[in-house]
């Protein structure tokens, strides 16, 4: 009889335990269901946002692609023009035996070649700049030219740059034959 009673007591205990477990489970289930609903809503929202953004990105990509085309063709045009300009300058430089270079301090350097018949590649040069009064100022001539100061005065007066250079070249040539 006491064995039966013990058994029955056990059953009651187990019953109460299970009841408790079920209560806890139900609570958890409610919580998790609520969380899940929230997450699902978030994901849905994100998906929609993503769609919009992806469309925007696509538009931007196309715009960039068009821009790239435009820039590329502008670049090509520039390159063409530079090529022609360079060719022109090269011809002058080669045929006249005169190189014009921009150097530091906002100066232009003029380098003559084909002056010395024995050494045609020997450079004869001077530098030119504009002073504060916006007048021509010559400097750094190699070899030194006495008449350069006079030429400077002349070109300031007449602004005849062409004659200036022709005379300088003539003067450089004269130094070779002396």
């Amino acid at each position: 009889m006491s064995l039966k009673l013990k058994e029955e007591e056990r059953m009651v205990e187990m019953f109460l335990e299970y009841q408790n477990q079920v209560r806890k489970q139900n609570k958890l289930i409610q919580e998790k269901k609520a969380n899940l609903l929230i997450m699902i809503a978030e994901v849905k929202g994100k998906r929609q946002e993503l769609e919009v953004l992806t469309a925007n990105i696509q538009d931007l990509k196309e715009e960039y692609s068009r821009k790239k085309e435009t820039i590329s063709s502008a670049n090509r045009a520039n390159e063409e023009r530079l090529k022609r300009l360079q060719k022109s300058a090269d011809l002058y430089k080669e045929r006249l035996g005169l190189e014009i270079r921009k150097i530091h301090g906002d100066k232009l350097q003029f380098i003559f070649t084909n002056i010395d018949p024995k050494h045609p590649e020997s450079p004869f040069m001077f530098s030119l700049s504009l002073n504060e009064a916006k007048e021509y100022e010559v400097s750094d001539s190699v070899p030194h030219l006495e008449c350069l100061a006079e030429f400077q005065e002349n070109v300031r007066k007449t602004n005849n740059f062409s004659a200036f250079l022709a005379n300088v070249r003539k003067a450089f040539t004269a130094t070779v034959y002396n």
């Binding site: 059953m11 990105i57 821009k67 022109s88 084909n114 070109v155 004659a163």
Partner: protein, 192 residues
């Protein structure tokens, strides 16, 4: 217990029967008491039977509820697992919804474009004007215009003098560079 007491009485009665004279009446009385004893025994037995049956029935009910409850917890556990799995899946999905690679691509595209734009700008605002300036300077100095379409090896162009325009036509394959330079410079007026 009442049954035992009755049985005791019956035994006493039987003993007194042996010594007494009113045997018949006593016999009848004893038989009656015997009947009562047996009845009461049967009653008790039935009662015990019934209670046992009732107890077993209740036990069965409880056991049944217990099994049902156990099943409940099992189902609850399964549901929880499923919810857990769905929740994990959703969280993963949420984390995967990103546009980092696309944005990175866009940024690179943009940077590339800006770089190209800068180059074109530089060419347009600095390099080309500078080259134009130099070409114009040469032209201004020499007053010479080249023919760019002539045969290679030929020096062909026009010198725009103050009064006349003089054509230039030299064969550079036959003449030295110095000769050509000297000749071209001779066309430039040295008069201030």
């Amino acid at each position: 217990m009442a049954a035992f007491r009755d049985m005791e009485e019956v035994s006493h009665g039987l003993l007194s029967l042996l010594g007494a004279n009113r045997a018949e009446a006593q016999q009848r009385r004893l038989l009656r008491r015997h009947e009562q004893v047996v009845e009461r025994l049967l009653e008790t037995q039935n009662g015990a039977d019934r209670r046992l049956r009732e107890t077993l029935a209740v036990e069965e009910e409880v056991a049944q509820s217990l099994l049902e409850l156990k099943e409940c917890t099992r189902l609850g556990g399964t549901e929880l697992q499923q919810l857990e799995a769905e929740l994990r899946k959703t969280i993963e999905e949420d984390a995967s919804l990103q546009l980092t690679t696309e944005l990175q691509e866009l940024k690179e595209l943009e940077a590339g474009l800006q770089q190209q734009e800068r180059e074109v700008d530089k060419d347009t605002t600095v390099t080309i004007p500078s080259a134009v300036y130099v070409a114009q300077l040469y032209h201004r100095i020499s007053k010479i215009e080249w023919d760019y379409e002539c045969e290679p090896g030929m020096v062909k162009g026009i010198h725009h003098g103050p009064t006349v325009a003089q054509p230039i036509h030299l064969d550079s394959t036959q003449l030295s560079q110095k000769f050509i330079s000297d000749y071209l410079w001779s066309l430039v007026d040295t008069v201030w």
